[in-house]
Symmetry: C2
Subunit: 214 residues, 2 copies
């Protein structure tokens, strides 16, 4: 059985759960508790030398890391429903939207970075929230502009079916809501996320629906 | 003519230059001076709503953003020499190594983040360097482990030809050297980078070889 080593609130694990669900693939979940520091334990480091989640271990023992790489692997092995369009220009657009979240917003706001801000740089709660919202706002401003002005957008980030871009967007919005970011300036983002949230694959991937949800 | 809007010291633009060179594609370069803030000017925002570089504008007017998306687009349109292996498991490994750099190290250390640390959080030079080196060290520790213990490694990150992973690694090492990071604990990384640097495609992509090099 395919096993996902993740954490209910990890955005990156959330992306992989959505992909697995959309593909209709069965998987076991093993929680790695990020708050307790289990990601830096020997068991997790053996799978994931960065001490992060998620890792996906396949039936035949292949250990995969990095959520976007895992999602593209799943898409290559199980092409339907597709997480990427067929035309190279459209694939590039979907990947760019996904990477806007995965390379420009999320890396600045994940737990290990927020911990560094508090423990090493001694930021207070307000400064930490300011940091968090600064990167979300900058990223979402750009994403809203791209989604609004580019012809490829539809009910989802690209067209009328979920793609890799939606897999990144929904967890990022969940995360932003947790930190009480004001999303009123992003009607297009909110509409797309609302559409995603009507789908069972996204619902079953939500943090609150996971076995380790606290 | 394909046009790359970049900046000589931008790691992300550097990745795209290497890809274009490896593919043997001709391109014009238009510098966007990040130090002068040109990335936030109207001309760049029209191409790249995030106010970043690089963007690639193709012959037929397609505007692409996000360096990894651009490199995969080039690889799909011009498959030889390949930037990714053929087997899905190997493609996943290369993408994971690339994303280790592009999602876990680089986003924390690029210019806009360092500026925020100095201007908003009032960090002094030592604290800024501490931040920079913390993320480089954590990322390179993991990368060195993965490159050393995984069978896929060769003269390059994966096998004996350059892939997307090397396109990310070489600019990250260049950047780390600029910030005087100690790389002595990373013999495998250093050997791979040395191999890359023997290739004209990498040499011609180096920051010092660009028209806007200061």
């Amino acid at each position: 059985m395919t096993t996902l080593y993740g954490y209910f609130r990890s955005s990156a694990a959330y992306r992989v759960r959505i992909a697995l669900n959309l593909k209709g693939l069965a998987y076991d979940q093993v929680p790695v508790n990020l708050v307790k520091g289990e990601q830096r334990g020997d068991a997790n480091l053996a799978r994931h030398p960065q001490g992060l989640v998620p890792s996906l271990v396949t039936d035949d023992g292949l250990v995969l890391t990095q959520s976007l790489a895992i999602c593209e692997y799943l898409d290559e092995l199980h092409p339907r429903p597709a997480l990427l369009p067929e035309a190279p220009a459209e694939r590039a657009r979907v990947r760019a939207l996904a990477q806007l979240v995965a390379c420009e917003i999320h890396p600045l706001n994940n737990l290990r970075v927020l911990k560094y801000l508090v423990h090493e740089l001694k930021l207070d709660e307000e400064a930490k929230l300011g940091w968090y919202r600064h990167w979300v706002t900058g990223g979402f401003d750009a994403l809203e502009t791209m989604l609004s002005r580019e012809a490829g957008s539809g009910d989802f980030c690209h067209g009328d079916t979920p793609t890799l871009a939606d897999l990144c967007l929904v967890p990022q919005v969940f995360n932003a809501e947790r930190f009480a970011c004001d999303l009123s300036a992003y009607p297009r983002i909110r509409r797309i996320v609302a559409n995603c949230r009507t789908l069972p694959a996204f619902q079953r991937a939500a943090p609150g629906a996971q076995p380790d949800a606290g």
